[in-house]
Symmetry: C2
Subunit: 332 residues, 2 copies
Amino acid sequence: MSMRRTTIKDVAGAAGVGVATVSRVLSGGSASPETRERVLNVAAQLDYRPSALGRNLRQQRSGGIGLLLPDITDTFYGRLADGVLACARSAGEPVILGTTGDDPEREAELIGMLMEQGVDRVIAVPSGDGEIWAPTLRAGLTMVFAHRLSTGHGDVPAVLADDRAGVRTAVDYLTGLGHRRIAYLGGPGQEQRLSVFRQALGGLVDEELIVVARGSRDSAYAAAAGLFQHRPDLTAVLAGGNLLGEAAVLAARELDLRVPRDLSLIMFDDVPWAELCAPPLTVIAQPAQDIGYRAAELVLREGGRRPRGVLLPTELIVRGSCAPRRTPNKSG
Amino acid sequence: MSMRRTTIKDVAGAAGVGVATVSRVLSGGSASPETRERVLNVAAQLDYRPSALGRNLRQQRSGGIGLLLPDITDTFYGRLADGVLACARSAGEPVILGTTGDDPEREAELIGMLMEQGVDRVIAVPSGDGEIWAPTLRAGLTMVFAHRLSTGHGDVPAVLADDRAGVRTAVDYLTGLGHRRIAYLGGPGQEQRLSVFRQALGGLVDEELIVVARGSRDSAYAAAAGLFQHRPDLTAVLAGGNLLGEAAVLAARELDLRVPRDLSLIMFDDVPWAELCAPPLTVIAQPAQDIGYRAAELVLREGGRRPRGVLLPTELIVRGSCAPRRTPNKSG
DNA sequence: CATACTCATGGAAACGATTCCATCATGATT
DNA sequence: AATCATGATGGAATCGTTTCCATGAGTATG
């Protein structure tokens, strides 16, 4: 009942040539025009599709791109993945997706799985530090980091949003509105943003106002609620991602802090619901899809030369969640 | 510099046995206890990892699960993918992700790519009709549909949310509030929901109040705005997905329709921002992650028997976007 | 004691592609 | 005319694994 796949041998036999010739014709090698035409005709007639299995074994590598993300549920990573898929599709390459949950152990596990599969090109939002990636690099994989760097990364190129400028813009905007006690609500792997945040605030930085959550929604909410309860004197918050922003809105509402009257809120990453929120959220937009697309471009370029990383611009989009600091009412 | 991978031959040589024995030991075949131990020791010492490439070629199938979704940017599909990944991870199977954009042509292309890769297990949210999937089935692939059926599907098992009950609940809720002119704002592949909607409304159904958008945000917004402008007499809307719901909120705001005062809104699929919206959105929650997980379970079960599909419950979550119909003010 | 049967074992044949290499024909150069 | 370069071509090796089959040892049964 189930017929055997048509193989390159069948095509060779039907066209009256050797398998080597068929292979050459199909992969663009040299062949005489008439042979080429005959082979192509026969191949089309037999509906021949070369098996990636055979090719992969011979070439010692499975085509395809490994994509390692912390959480595909987060729309930021969803858009990033979309960018990777768009580029991969135009190159005809399959994408193998894995989620790490920001857990280095899971990440290492996934890397092992990818290498077992013969995947030799990986795009990752790294959670672990350099040690995890060292064996990967030694094995000769083509790597590109996206959105984050790995501490102690080798010379792995990275595609990043310009966090530096983004944080600076946000902080400038808030201080310009008169805010002094500004909190940062961060997620995993945002060391660079933190250092810029400290730097932008100059001497004003108050370490208690810097809180780092793990990747989950629960953790983000806990961090936000804890921060707001512990330091009711803060007047502005910079949330380092849409999950954190969501948590901040929720926690503020829960604690009867009105935005932007009692609390100015600015969020990294523009998401569709930012506009639907009450009030609409002021955000630092990041080109998530571009990040993915460019990362895929880099990892596919494969040209021996090491490309330097890419830095993509962010953009402040002012909506309604930030207001000038209310001057403390001394008579109240 | 780059050392050759350690192969099964190396292990066999170092352990003083044949390759067949090594293979048997590692894949759970029969072997004497002392041989088994020696082989396992040597394998561990050499850090031997069997190459999936060789195995795949021999077994004529690449492990792994193909996952075909309309749009990974949509959080519903993001959660669905998350479920699939969770199950696949526990089975140690890689997942190859492709997005169709609800375009049957792209879908067919992706199927071709998957078959070329030797993927023989696919989970899909189908956009095309039965004809597209016929060759797939004939080729002996294990298929599971998720979230949607393909019209004229063969005996492909499907994992679905209970749309029937969901639509009925929503309509009952709205009619219970006094609404009569209820619109349905649908997306691609929701034929079943539409028929249930018509059925639930009984004789009251007004075909002009049924609008179907394509998958994109733009299309959804256009559909919503067009509907609201064309039929200002409607008092309630059922949005068939979070993109449609988002569009409805946006369009209503644009047209100065206040929710729920002028317009009651109920949305399929509970998303985190539904709670952040003003007003918070009443929704029919769908277990997106479960759908993915169960689909992966089915496709991995592989037991020759054809499992029947799975129907998962939906849940009405009442928030603040629905209100009783205002009795028309005859003196106004 | 002879025969049959179980069980561990290793050699070798697949799997389907790519690619090295030898062969042969043709045309150009000396 | 002899040699050389060029280019098309097919046979065979190769990738790493699984699996079929033959072999031999050991045990049980007649």
